[in-house]
Amino acid sequence: MAVIESSQDIVQSQSPWREAARAFRQSWAGMLGIFILILVILFTFVGPFFYPVDPFEIIWAPLTPPGATERAPLGTDYLGRDILAGLIHGGPATLYVGLVAGIITITIGILVGAFAGFYRGMVDEFLMRITEFFQVLPALLFAMVLVTLFTPTIYVVSLAIGIVSWPTTARLTRAEFLRIRNLEYVNAARSIGAKNRRIIWRVILPNALAPLIVAATLTVGIAILFEAGLSFLGLGDPNMFSWGLMIGAGREYILDGWWVVTLPGFMIFLTVLGFSLVGDGLNDAFNPKLRER
C-alpha cells in the first residue's frame, strides 16, 4: 500500500502543469491576485444586472459628491453622469484593451522570438534589428502617434498598445529558444526526422512557455495602464466608457470633485495589482528553483 501511495506521489509530481497548479495554490500572492480579479470581473460583468444605469446618461447635478443622493451613490462627474455606472461599464472596455493588447503582444512576440531564436543567423539578425527598432522608440509616444494617425477607437488603441509592447516578449522568447534548441530532447526530435515546424511549435515552445505566461499576465496589466495613459492624454475612444477615459476627462475637475478621478483610478489600481499578483504567483509556480527556496 505504502509503495503504491508513494508511486502515486511520484506520478503526480512528474506532471509539471499539475505541480505548477499546486504551487500556485500555495502562493498567497497568486491567490490574492485571482481573488481581486474575480471581484473586478464580477463587478463589471455582473454589476450591470444589479445596477442598470446608462453611464452616458445625465442623471443628477454635475459634480455631486458621493453619498449626497441615492440616485448616484458614488457621486456624479462633470456632466452629471453617474460615477458608479461609469465604473461598472468602464470595466469591460478597460479589460478588453488589456486582453487584446496582451494577446497581440504575445502573438507577435512569440512569432518573432521563436523564428529568431530557432533559425539564428540571418533570420535572427533581421528580426532582432526590427525588434530593436521598436524597442528604442518611446512606447507611449509611439502609441500616441499611431492613435493620432487613425481615429481613436478602442480597436486602434488596443492595436497601438500591442504594437509598441511586443519587443520584450520577443526577446524573452528568443532567449528561451536559444537555450532550449540544443538540448538533448530537441536533438532527439531532430534525429528522428521531425520537421522544423514541429520542433518549434511542439517541442521547444511548450518548454519555453512558463516564463512567457508570466510575461503575458504582466503585459495585460501594463496594457491597462497604457490605455489609461492614452485616455488621460485625450486619445481614448469617447464612445466607450473606460476607467482611463474617466480619469482623462475628469482630471481638470480634481480640485472640485476628487471622486471623479480617484474612483476610476482605484479600479485601475486594483485590476493592475490583480494581474501583477497573478503574474507573481505564476512565476513562483513555474520556477522550480524559486519554489525550493
Binding site: 446618461e57 447635478a61 456632466l79 481615429t151 481613436p152
Partner: protein
C-alpha cells in the same frame, strides 16, 4: 524669486512713474510695463496677411489703422483724422494725419494706405472685407479715396483693429511675397509701440514709440507679450502677479477663481466685436439632417441653460442666432429653441423617423474641436446623453488634433459638429461666410460647411451688406436672422466666455469693442 523681482521692479516703476506725474494726481501716468499673458503663439507679427488673436494683439500695437472704434461701436479718428463717405456710398475719403511717421522715420502717405489695402485684399483670409474695392486714388499724399463697386458699409469697421494695418510700402513693396516677408518677424509700423524682440512661442517685446502721432501717448514704456505653454500656468501667472493682464481668458473655473482675487479685475467687456459663438453645426446634406424638422428637433432637445449654468458655471451668455448679442445687428426676436423634449419628439415623428431598434430613431456622429474640452468635448458628450432622450443615437468622433477636425468639417465629411466661429465685428466679415450659397467651398474651414442654401437669405444678406442706412441694415439682418434661425442649419449655444483679467493698478484697460486687439496707447499703470 521671480515674483519678488517683479514686485521690486514694479515698485521701482511706480516710484518713477509717480515722481514724473506728481502734479496730476489720479491722472494718467507715464511709464511702467504691461505684461500680457497668452497661450496663443504668433507665427509672425503682420496682421495684414494673417488673422487670429495671436498676431492681432501685437499687430495692433505695432501698426496703426485708419480708424479705431470706441465701446459704443462708433468709429473714431486714428491715422485718418477725418473721413467721409460719398452720398452714393461708393467711395470713402480718408484725410491722414500730417505728423504720422513710421517707426523708421519715414512719413505715412496715401500711397501706403493704397498699398496696404491691396495687400490685405490679396492676402488676408477675410476676403469679404475689401472684395468690393475697385481701387484707391491718391490725389495728394494725405488723401486716400477708396472706391467700391457698390456701397460697402462694413468698410469702416474693416479699417480698425488688426484688419487694415497700414504697412510701409518702402519695406513691403520690394516684390517679395507679403505672407513670407522677412519684415513680418520684425515689422516696421506706425502704432504706439515699436517692435523690439520676437521669440516665437516665448515672448514679444514692444517699447514705447516716442514719435507716436498722438501727442503724449502712449503712457506705457513697454509691453511684453508672454507665451505660456498651457492655460493652467497662465491662470497661475495672473493670480500670482507674474503678469498684469490676461485677455481672452476662457476656462470658466479660472474665471470664477480669478474673480475672487482682490488684486484683479475680471470683465467680459471688450469682446463685442470678436463675437465668438459656440455652436452645433448640421451637415444639411445628411440623409436625416436635410430635413429642417430634424434640425429644429435637435435644437429643441438641447438645454442651453443646462450647458451654460451647469457645464460652464454660469460664466457665459446664451447665443440664439448668427449675430452675437451686443452687436448692433443682433436680433432678439428670433426663435430661441428653449428646451422642449416633447416637441422635439413630436417633430421627429412627424419627419417620418419613428423609434425603432432599442427605442432609437437613427444614428448621427458629432465632431468637436480638440483642445477646448469645456466648450466642445463636454458639450458633445452632453449631446450624446441628451439626444438619446429623443431617440437619436449620437456617436462622438474624436479628432486627435485641430487639422484633422478642420479637414473633416471643411471637407463636409461630418454629420454634426461642434464649432466656434467669430463674428469679427461686421456681419459682412464674420457672419455672411457661414450662410451664403456661393460660400459652400469644400475644403475650406469656416466657410459654409453646413452646405446651407436659401436664396432669400442670400438676397437679404447681400442687400444688407451694401445698405448704407444703419436702420435699414439692421432691419434686413433681423429678417435674415429670423429665417436662418428657423431653417436651423446651426443650433446656436453660447457666446464664448471670454474675459479679461487685469491687475487693479491698470488704468484705462482695453474695454472697447475690440478689447486687447486695439491700440493700448491709453493704458497706464496707476
Amino acid at each position: 524669486m521671480r515674483k519678488t523681482g517683479f514686485i521690486a521692479a514694479a515698485m521701482a516703476m511706480l516710484l518713477t512713474a509717480s515722481a514724473a506725474s506728481f502734479t496730476q494726481a489720479d491722472e494718467q501716468k507715464n511709464g511702467g510695463t504691461l505684461v500680457l499673458g497668452t497661450t496663443q503663439k504668433a507665427r509672425h507679427l503682420n496682421p495684414a496677411v494673417q488673422s487670429g488673436i495671436a498676431t492681432a494683439v501685437p499687430g495692433t500695437q505695432i501698426f496703426a489703422t485708419p480708424l479705431r472704434f470706441n465701446d459704443k461701436w462708433e468709429p473714431q479718428p486714428y491715422l485718418a483724422e477725418s473721413w467721409s463717405v460719398s452720398d452714393d456710398g461708393k467711395s470713402i475719403t480718408l484725410k491722414l494725419r500730417a505728423n504720422a511717421k513710421f517707426h523708421d522715420g519715414k512719413p505715412i502717405t496715401s500711397e501706403d494706405v493704397a498699398f496696404s489695402l491691396q495687400t490685405v485684399k490679396d492676402n488676408h483670409p477675410f476676403k469679404s472685407m475689401f472684395s468690393p474695392v475697385t481701387g484707391v486714388d491718391t490725389p495728394d499724399p494725405l488723401t486716400a479715396v477708396i472706391n467700391f463697386e457698390k456701397p460697402h458699409p462694413a468698410a469702416l469697421l474693416a479699417m480698425s483693429s488688426a484688419l487694415l494695418p497700414i504697412i510701409p510700402k518702402h519695406v513691403y513693396g520690394d516684390g517679395q511675397d507679403p505672407k513670407s516677408h522677412p519684415a513680418n518677424n520684425a515689422p516696421v509700423g506706425s502704432g504706439p509701440f515699436k517692435f523690439v524682440e520676437f521669440k516665437p512661442g516665448e515672448y514679444i517685446i514692444l517699447e514705447k514709440n516716442p514719435d507716436y502721432f498722438i501727442e503724449g501717448r502712449p503712457y506705457l514704456d513697454k509691453i511684453i507679450i508672454k507665451n505660456y505653454k498651457d492655460l493652467t500656468s497662465l491662470a497661475l501667472a495672473i493670480d500670482t502677479g507674474e503678469i498684469n493682464m490676461y485677455p481672452f481668458l476662457a476656462p470658466t473655473k479660472d474665471i470664477a477663481r480669478l474673480k475672487k482675487n482682490d488684486g484683479l479685475v475680471v470683465t467680459d467687456r471688450g469682446y463685442e466685436a470678436v463675437g465668438p459663438i459656440n455652436w452645433l453645426a448640421f451637415n444639411t446634406n445628411n440623409h436625416y439632417l436635410k430635413d429642417k424638422r430634424v434640425r429644429q428637433a435637435i435644437a429643441y432637445a438641447m438645454d442651453r441653460d443646462f450647458i451654460i449654468n451647469a457645464l460652464l458655471g454660469g460664466q457665459s451668455k446664451a447665443a440664439t442666432g448668427p449675430v452675437v448679442p451686443g452687436s448692433p445687428f443682433y436680433a432678439d426676436a428670433a426663435e430661441k429653441y428653449d428646451v422642449d423634449l416633447d416637441k422635439a419628439n413630436a417633430m421627429l415623428d412627424e419627419a417620418g423617423f419613428p423609434r425603432g431598434d432599442g427605442d432609437m430613431r437613427f444614428q448621427l456622429t458629432v465632431d468637436y474641436i480638440p483642445g477646448s474640452a469645456e466648450l466642445q468635448k463636454n458639450v458633445a458628450e452632453y449631446l450624446k446623453s441628451q439626444l438619446k432622450k429623443v431617440g437619436i443615437d449620437v456617436e462622438l468622433r474624436a479628432s486627435p488634433d485641430f487639422p484633422t477636425w478642420a479637414k473633416r468639417v471643411g471637407g463636409h465629411d461630418f454629420d454634426m459638429s461642434m464649432d466656434i466661429v467669430f463674428n469679427w465685428g461686421d456681419p459682412v466679415i464674420g457672419v455672411h461666410r457661414t450662410y451664403l450659397c456661393d460660400n459652400i467651398k469644400k475644403g475650406v474651414i469656416w466657410s459654409n460647411t453646413q452646405s446651407y442654401c436659401n436664396e432669400e437669405v442670400d438676397n437679404l444678406l447681400n442687400e444688407a451688406g451694401s445698405e448704407l442706412d444703419q436702420a435699414k441694415r439692421i432691419a434686413l439682418y433681423k429678417k435674415a436672422q429670423e429665417i436662418i434661425v428657423d431653417d436651423a442649419p446651426i443650433a446656436f449655444i453660447n457666446v464664448l466666455p471670454y474675459h479679461t483679467a487685469y491687475s487693479k493698478d491698470i488704468g484705462n484697460p482695453p474695454l472697447t469693442i475690440w478689447g486687447a486687439m486695439s491700440p493700448l496707447d491709453e493704458v497706464y499703470i496707476k
